[in-house]
Amino acid sequence: MPAMNMIQALNSALDVMLARDPKVLIFGQDVGYFGGVFRVTDGLQSKYGRTRCFDAPISENGLVGTAIGMGAYGLRPVVEIQFADYIYPAYDQLVSEAAKLRYRSAGQFSAPLTVRTPYGGGIFGGQTHSQSPESLFTHIAGLKTVIPSNPHDAKGLLIAAIEDDDPVLFLEPKRLYNGPFEGWRDRPSSPWAGHPMAETPMGHYSVPLGEAAVVQGGAAVTVLAYGTMVHVALAAAHHAGIDAEVIDLRTLVPLDLETITLSVKKTGRCVIVHEAPLTSGYGAELAALVQEHCFYHLEAPIRRVAGWDTPYPHALEWDYFPGPERIAEALRAVVEGEGV
């Protein structure tokens, strides 16, 4: 099984799906001849032709709007939004249209599109190349939200998303494209090669939507994370020397609540980590659910470690990014049962 980085794994997923299903097509800014600014669609236009993978105008509402029409026709469009920070012009089409089409037409029409977009920080991208908007979509009934944390899952989840009959927002942690990232600002970054989850089958396979992965067993505390933060959380637990059970959610909607509650009922403690700002982040939903479902097992308040409630900065990126020290501190506090 070849080792792939996340870009190669995503490219492979698209390649597999273009080959298997003539209804799949890809469009977005710079994805055609050029192969995408992150090279995720590299080589696909020349392999499958211009009507299967092509450039689109800089109009995110047009991208998603036309993809909905294509989906209603019967195709399975995969759309790339160049950065998640630029998804807002398409917000109405996603929220009012893609998410509600099946419901409002009582199943006559549906919008089986996949919207891929790189998200998250850690690359000195400033406020418009670093955002994590996932919770703005998890609130919307009718949308699924998927976030992989490694090449193997990225490919399998992307295939599952494309094959899914409902609209899926597929957020790609761009900080993980070329290698895992533990969040230490001053240590050299490592490539994916050598990481067990870089082992990625060449052909078709899928990782089902709605199944979390327990990436590290542990007894002291449950850590809920996704995307880049899975790796940062692991590093933090190691750093703090705490026996944490780390769960990679993989899909936020549908959520694998069972795996979460099973773990929290065992550990009695929970820390939730994300890059997005704290207030109304997805961590809020997770905390609400965990206290609802595990109240009588909890031995300390659930803590959230998240981005601050400010826009994403540039120079002070490492003061914003919820790195291993901040997470480690929360782990310690929760294990010691500290209130706020």
Binding site: S59, G62, G65, A72, L75, Q93, R104, A106, D165, D166
Partner: protein, 407 residues
């Protein structure tokens, strides 16, 4: 020192108490505007956006190069569809006033547009309508009972009581699910047409939007994508002079016709008398011919007048002269086609009276059937359906919620 700047706030001359004034309206005589071959390059078609394509003159005669070839039965089918649409509107508006449903919207005065377009296109073509194209469904012979069941949101509503009345969806009738959010359907229509072209299909799409809603960003997206990929789509603007209380000047129509928007995208654009069944037919056929020949999109502005209130929630007497509708210079589309059929010897007064009576009876019969199922509040879909179709299959959370609700 420069003179101080000032802002122009557009305001129609015609408000309650003032006399209706249509002097700003750019009109052409019937038959006046030349007809270019549909194969003509878009750049040679710019004038069509500024004229007004008209076929029927004041005497009901068909004039000029845009005269479509329509046989007697097609003309009568068109008239019948318009009459039925108006009768349906009348009854359902009244039904709302009687408390049988929450909301209704009429298309009175605009019937020619949807009815002619429905008949000029192929039944397999897909329309992406807004809320004032009930004529499409009616002309395509869609079940009036199903429309009423939708309006009554009752147990037989094909949309399971989920949508506001008149927000139909009828896939089999080539009628896309209506959205309450203005403009969103336009790029969707373009995407559907792109998909059809990608797939080597022969079906084309037709998007519909009001004059006011052309200001939405989605309208621009639709024109851009249609132009870039030469999508086989017809993009129709129904300019009925009002967007609730706002006149066309608030949407950018004060100095330039809406059709002219097409020119900046290299999209051929027609400005058409929307109360002229024959002109609507001709323009739609012309655009469809271009689309089917891979010549790409056409933008059509249909000039008409919203004779009814915006909706059952609206009172136009608050913002426009009471007699404006009556003085609208392009007349009533039903009376104009009727005059043409008279003139051509294809219809008698008795035929027309029969047509009207038949329409009324059709609507009444449908009404009885729908009301037998029940009206809003008296009959409704099973509460279980509330939790269905959010996704193809419900996730665990929806199952939990359904259970919590006890259904």
């Amino acid at each position: 020192m420069a003179a101080p700047l000032s802002l122009h706030i557009p305001e129609p001359a015609r408000r309650p108490g003032a006399a209706p004034d249509f002097s700003g309206l750019r009109l052409s005589a019937a038959g006046e505007v030349g007809r270019s071959d549909p194969q003509t390059a878009a750049s040679d078609l710019r004038d069509l956006a500024f004229g007004l394509i008209r076929v029927l003159d004041d005497d009901g005669q068909a004039q000029g190069p845009w005269r479509p070839e329509l046989g007697a039965s097609a003309l009568k089918a068109g008239l019948a569809a318009m009459v039925l649409t108006r009768a349906f509107d009348e009854r359902m508006f009244r039904a709302q006033r009687q408390g049988k449903t929450s909301f209704y919207m009429k298309c009175t005065g605009e019937e020619a547009i949807a009815c002619a377009a429905a008949l000029a296109l192929d039944p397999a073509d897909m329309h992406f309508p807004t809320y004032r194209q009930q004529g499409l469904l009616i002309a395509r012979g869609y079940s009036l009972v199903d429309m009423m069941n939708q309006i009554y949101s009752n147990a037989a509503d094909p949309l399971l009581g989920r949508q506001l009345p008149i927000m139909y969806s009828a896939r089999e009738a080539g009628f896309f699910s209506i959205s309450g959010n203005l403009g969103t359907q336009m790029p969707q229509a373009v995407g559907w047409a792109m998909a059809s072209a990608c797939s080597g299909d022969t079906r084309i799409a037709c998007g519909w939007i009001g004059d006011g809603a052309t200001a939405e960003g989605d309208f621009h997206a639709a024109l851009t994508f249609a132009s870039v990929y030469r999508a086989p789509v017809i993009l129709n603007i129904v300019n009925n002079q009002w967007a609730i209380s706002s006149f066309t000047g608030v949407a950018g129509g004060e100095t330039t016709p809406f059709a002219a928007k097409g020119l900046g995208y290299g999209i051929p654009a027609l400005r058409v008398d929307g109360n002229d069944f024959l002109a609507v037919t001709a323009a739609t056929q012309w655009a469809a011919e271009r689309a089917r020949a891979n010549l790409g999109p056409t933008l059509i502005e249909f000039v008409t007048y919203r004779a009814a209130p915006h909706s059952t929630s609206d009172d136009p007497a608050r913002y426009r002269p009471a007699d404006e509708a009556a003085l609208w210079p392009l007349g009533d589309p039903i009376l104009r086609l009727k005059a043409h059929l008279f003139r051509s010897g294809l219809l008698t007064e008795q035929d027309f009276a029969d047509l009207e009576a038949e329409a009324l009876e059709q609507v009444r019969a449908a009404g009885r059937q729908a009301e037998a199922v029940g009206v809003l509040g008296k009959s409704r879909p099973s509460a279980r359906t509330l939790f269905e179709d959010v996704f193809k299959a419900p996730d665990a959370r929806l199952v939990r919620q359904r259970r919590e609700h006890g259904v």
